[in-house]
Amino acid sequence: MSIQTKRILGRIVLYLLVLVIIVVTVAPFLWLVISSVSTKIELLDRKIFLIPETFTLSNYEALISRDFIPAAVNSIVVTTSVVAISLVLGVLAAYAYSRFKFWGRGPLLNLSLFTQMIPPIALIIPMYIIFKRLDLINQRGTLIVIYLSLVLPYLIWIMKSYIDVTPKDLEEAAMIDGCSKLRSFYHVVLPVIKTGLAATVIFAFIITWNEFFYAFSLTKTLDAKTLPVLIYDFNSKFGANYVMSATAGVVASLPPVLVALFFQKYIISGLSAGAIKE
């Protein structure tokens, strides 16, 4: 076989592999989307199709009448609060960990990482008893505080690794010009680490929006139930309603999926920053 044919064969194999990767990645989710715009009758016919014969948005209309709005509001309120609060607290702490040496710095950093490795199942049992005692079950505020504690260590690590690689000279120059530490951080360092900020916001958003386990264990009614819990209900309470859960699933997936697709480069940058010591 000549080198030329070998090369062409290599390209063909490569493109075939890429095609397989695309299909395997996209097909399951695509099927979910197709299911959500099809009629039940057509789905039960069990043919695999790409475009439903009768395209319908009636499933989405039905969704609105089924507790969807209050659950979505809960999800939005909880997620926005967690993202905003964790960003401020996380950046300040990351700055302190990166730029100052102080008593307990190393152990505190390691310990906060360690908390991330505690299995949620080990936490939910005592949490449930404690929050029940304090009458804090089924409240958005409870979820917000728990999510903050989950998201913060992660954000601090990512932000710290971004601040670590920012040269100190800039800050020092600003401080010689009379800026205080915090001011020089705000005006000099923050603009430089924009990528890191974007990455952390995206992470906090995706982690919080997608969280199911704690929400499932600690919410009872639509006062606090988030979208993932509602989807669980569609699956159990109303006797596994596939079309409804597909539709709600698509809606719940769109925000994180779109954010991830559009801001990919931040995610990859954040993942590699966080993974060193995540």
């Binding site: 960990y97 710095r105 005592p126 979208l227 699933g249 993974a275």
Partner: protein
């Protein structure tokens, strides 16, 4: 002596505009003020419960109306797990099998896909972008999606296999023990592999091309180059992935809760799900706490291993670690500048 040098270091870390200027109380404890809110949140919400769980695991816990009654029974909850709870031991075995299979598959497939996506081809950026889709989806939607796909009568999996002529009769994916186990494996691998791909691609991009060129001049291409260059270079990332993925796999809950409820015949009764049921369905909070503590100890051991290998202790770094961190830093800087 050590203290003095630390103090000096602190001064050197950020020189103030005028060294003789008297520092205010706020200034002196600035780092403590900065970390206080997040530290209080993290440790208040996580550390207190995990200590409380230890106490719970040493008690028989009963409920009377609104009151919770604790009877201290020492290690009885723990001994009972291994002597009188066959479901627990079975659940451990099921979980171990699940963890080993899913982590191995994720890493092998993930590295393979990353190697393909590291080659030059038209539309590479686009395909690399798509890979992120399963990772970004909520786990609960993933579970619902696969439950629908694996539905015996109307699911796409059977539909596809039937159309392709590979089967003539519906497979009862979620109703037979072995197939149910395989189903949650597939669902989990599909969701978790992209993370491996993304990190491996990032690691691959740090390997300079001239190493390969040099190797190919020496006659080492293809497999040989993979074993002697690529694999050693991405080894640290694979190690990180192996440990973190193992810890996460132990925590799989959503898939089981949605797809199988632990059945059939306990074939998918993973630990996190079983413990949750013992606590919230059977109201045996003491036993559940003991189980979750046993599970935690495994995760802590893995974390400890991870810290020993990779962590910055806050003051110094081991040689190996430093080499890897520098690599990562360069890459970060490069990424930052490109944007």
């Amino acid at each position: 002596m050590a203290k003095a040098s630390k103090k000096e270091e602190r001064k050197r870390a950020i020189p103030s505009a005028d060294p003789s200027e008297k520092r205010t109380f706020f200034d002196r404890f600035l780092p403590q003020f900065l970390i206080a809110p997040s530290t209080l949140t993290i440790f208040g919400v996580l550390l207190f419960p995990i200590l409380f769980a230890l106490w719970m695991s040493l008690n028989r816990i009963t409920f009377q109306g609104a009151d919770t009654i604790y009877n201290f029974i020492g290690l009885q909850n723990y001994t009972a797990l291994f002597t009188s709870d066959p479901w627990f031991t079975q659940s451990i075995l099921t979980t171990l099998l699940f963890v080993v299979l899913t982590v191995t598959a994720e890493i092998m497939i993930g590295v393979g896909v990353a190697l393909v996506l590291n080659k030059q081809f038209i539309g590479r950026g686009f395909v690399r972008g798509l890979i992120i889709l399963p990772w970004a989806m909520p786990t609960i939607v993933n579970a619902v999606m696969w439950k629908w796909i694996f539905n015996a009568q109307y699911g796409a999996a059977n539909g596809l296999l039937m159309n392709l002529g590979l089967i003539t009769e519906n497979i009862n994916w979620l109703a037979t023990p072995r197939m149910a186990f395989i189903s949650i494996l597939i669902a989990n691998i599909w969701k978790e592999t992209p993370y491996v791909v993304l990190l491996t691609i990032a690691a691959l991009s740090t390997i300079p091309d001239d190493i390969y060129e040099a190797a190919s001049i020496d006659g080492a291409g293809g497999w040989k180059a993979f074993w002697s260059i690529t694999l050693p270079m991405i080894r640290p990332v694979i190690l990180i992935l192996a440990i973190t993925k193992t810890i996460w796999a132990f925590q799989t809950f959503d898939l089981v809760a949605i797809m199988t409820s632990g059945g059939p015949e306990n074939a998918t009764n993973l630990l996190s799900y079983y413990i949750h049921r013992v606590a919230f369905k059977m109201n045996r909070f003491g036993s559940a706490a003991a189980m979750s503590y046993s599970l935690s100890i495994v995760c802590f051991a893995l974390t400890f291993l991870y810290i020993r290998i990779f962590m910055d202790d806050g003051e110094g770094e081991s040689k190996k670690k430093r080499r890897f961190l520098n690599l990562k830093r360069e890459q970060l800087m490069a990424g930052g500048e490109l944007e």
